[in-house]
Each structure stands twice: as structure tokens, then as C-alpha cells.
């Protein structure tokens, strides 16, 4: 199996987004046909992509949103519970790597694309996401929320891998799902009494 291209080989006429950075070599290019108005036409066939967008680009866009939400919650938990910071550091590193890779796969201008609004933006969607991500003061409850978040991410990412058209992209998403599943187990071993939190 070639790991060169994680994206469908069929060339789309109007746009070719080339993945770079960490993705280079594995994800050679995510080609999607996008127009100037893609972001305005969201809500079509796929959340995050208009009807002309390559289906795998739409999958990447959804996966990216999920990774960003998971990352936001881990960072918010670190902020609320400094004593847990070290235990949660590996999760931050992994989610950041996934966000970077997926961000490079989503063309600029498309929802969640690399040059679109950053995670901590002032967009209403990001703001409401943060506000809904209040971290419990009880470190055990905060950890339980993280376990639920990572489990949800595992399931969603497996579903994305299942529907991806490109085999190489499916392989990448399957690995990301397995990484989130590891987080669920790792979090279960964290001692919440070490996280005093802000009282």
C-alpha cells in the first residue's frame, strides 16, 4: 500500500491543497474542488463543506473540529487544575499534532482550514464552545469529563476513518482514533487527588 497520498487520486479542477509540514510524505495532497463561497455554503452535504467539496476534505474538516474541541478541553483543564498539568501534557502534544496534520489537509477558506479562524478565535461558534466547556472544580469530575471527551473523540474518529474514501487517509484517522483510545486509559490511571484545582 502506498502511504504517499492520503487523499483521493482523482484530480479536481479548481483547487489543490498541498499538505506540508509533518504531513509531507504521508499525506501528499488533499485535492478538493472548492469555490470562493464554500464557507458561505456550509450546511450542504457535509458539515464544513459545500456540495462541491471532496468528501474526504469534509471528513478532515469534521475531524479537525473534533480534535480542536478535545484540545481546548484538555488545555482548559490544565488551566483549572495546575496539579494535573504534567499528567495531561502528553494529551496536549498528541492533539496538537493531530490538529496540525488535519489543519494542513483542509484548504484555507473552508471551515476549520489552516488559515481560517484559529481555535481561540472570537467567532461565536468558538466562544460558545468554550463556554460550554466549563471545567468542574472537583478534579475527579474534571478528569471524568476528559475521559468522556476522549471516548467521544475515539468513536467519532473511527467513524471518520470508516467513511474516508482514501485508504491512506483512513489509516491516518484510524491511528488518531487509537491515540484517543489510549488517552481514555491513561486518564483512568491519573490520581485526581494530585489535582487540587483552583478553589
Amino acid at each position: 500500500m502506498s502511504a504517499r497520498s492520503a487523499l483521493p487520486r482523482r484530480a479536481r479542477p479548481t483547487r489543490r491543497a498541498v499538505l506540508a509540514g509533518t504531513a509531507a510524505g504521508l499525506v501528499a495532497g488533499l485535492s478538493g474542488c472548492t469555490s470562493e463561497h464554500d464557507s458561505a455554503r456550509r450546511g450542504g452535504r457535509h458539515r464544513g463543506g459545500g456540495p462541491d467539496v471532496d468528501p474526504d476534505v469534509a471528513v478532515a474538516s469534521e475531524a479537525l473540529a473534533g480534535q480542536r474541541a478535545a484540545l481546548d478541553l484538555v488545555v482548559a483543564t490544565q488551566d483549572a487544575h495546575p496539579a494535573l498539568r504534567r499528567d495531561l501534557a502528553p494529551l496536549v502534544g498528541t492533539h496538537e499534532a493531530h490538529v496540525k496534520l488535519l489543519g494542513e489537509a483542509v484548504p484555507p477558506g473552508l471551515a476549520g482550514g489552516a488559515t481560517a479562524v484559529p481555535s481561540a478565535s472570537a467567532s461565536p461558534a468558538a466562544a460558545s464552545r468554550r463556554s460550554s466547556r466549563a471545567v468542574p472544580r472537583d478534579p475527579a469530575k474534571a478528569l471524568a469529563d476528559l475521559v468522556a471527551s476522549e471516548q467521544q473523540l475515539t468513536d467519532a474518529t473511527k467513524q471518520h476513518a470508516f467513511v474516508a474514501e482514501s485508504g491512506a487517509f483512513a489509516r491516518l484517522l484510524g491511528s488518531m482514533a487509537a491515540a484517543a483510545a489510549q488517552h481514555v486509559v491513561v486518564l483512568g490511571a491519573v490520581d485526581p487527588s494530585r489535582g487540587g484545582g483552583r478553589r
Partner: protein, 141 residues
């Protein structure tokens, strides 16, 4: 890699896993290492089941399942607890890799099956001392 090739590679990996877990299980003392013994026994049972499932999946695909080798080299001398644990860890990491490949080379129910197997191998590797990995089963990342 065709779907059948990917499933054959996974089956070859499971043949090796069943062999090595069998050897490792025989070397772990149930009285002095009950926890490791239990983990190895669980892994052995699971890999044997997965091997049998792959044989069935390949027959469904009208392919002749690859046979196991007569024996397999253990990656370490594998006598001490550390060596036996390392052997199990290496196996799970190899299984993660073949299942990641299988995810990429199959579709539908077979891909779904490979996704679950990849997840299980990645999680099981933690119980044998692996650190969390950002890209389990993908060596180039």
C-alpha cells in the same frame, strides 16, 4: 496492498502473536507474576480469536489463509519479567502496524474490524509498558 493482502499480513501477525504469547505465557510464573500472567493469558486468548476471525474473513473473500510458521524468533532472550514484557509490547506494536495498514487497504465491515483491532492493540500496548503515542501503528509519523 489489496484487501486480501492486508488481511493475510494481519493473519501472519496474529500467527506470530499466538505463538509468542504461548511461549511467553509458559515462562511467566502465575505465582510470582500473577498480574503479568493474567495480562498475557488475556492477550493470548484475544489474539487466538482474532486469528480465527481473520481465517474466516479470508475464506469469505475466497482466499487461502496463510499458514503459521513452525516457530518464531522471540525479539529478546525473553526469560526475565522485563524481557517477557518487552516481547509482548513489541508484538502489540507490530499488530498495531498491520492493523493500521489493514484499515487503509480495506473498506466496509473489514475496515471496521481492523479499526477495532488497531484500537485494541494500541491500548493493550500500554499495559505492557508503552507510552501513549500520537500515531499508533504508523511508524513514519
Amino acid at each position: 496492498m489489496t484487501p486480501v493482502e492486508a488481511m493475510q499480513a494481519a493473519l501472519a501477525g496474529e500467527h506470530a502473536a499466538v505463538y509468542v504469547y504461548g511461549v511467553v505465557g509458559g515462562r511467566v510464573s502465575v505465582s510470582t507474576e500473577p498480574d503479568l500472567w493474567s495480562r498475557v493469558r488475556t492477550a493470548y486468548t484475544l489474539h487466538r480469536g482474532r486469528r480465527d476471525q481473520l481465517v474466516s474473513m479470508l475464506r469469505t473473500a475466497e482466499a487461502e489463509p496463510v499458514a503459521s510458521e513452525v516457530s518464531y524468533d522471540l525479539p529478546t532472550p525473553a526469560t526475565s519479567t522485563e524481557e517477557l514484557t518487552a516481547a509482548a509490547l513489541l508484538l502489540e506494536q507490530r499488530c498495531s502496524a498491520v492493523y493500521a495498514d489493514m484499515v487503509g487497504s480495506t473498506s466496509g465491515a473489514n475496515r471496521q474490524w481492523a479499526l477495532e483491532a488497531l484500537e485494541d492493540a494500541a491500548v493493550r500496548s500500554l499495559s505492557f509498558g508503552a507510552k501513549p503515542d500520537a500515531f499508533p501503528g504508523i511508524a513514519e509519523l
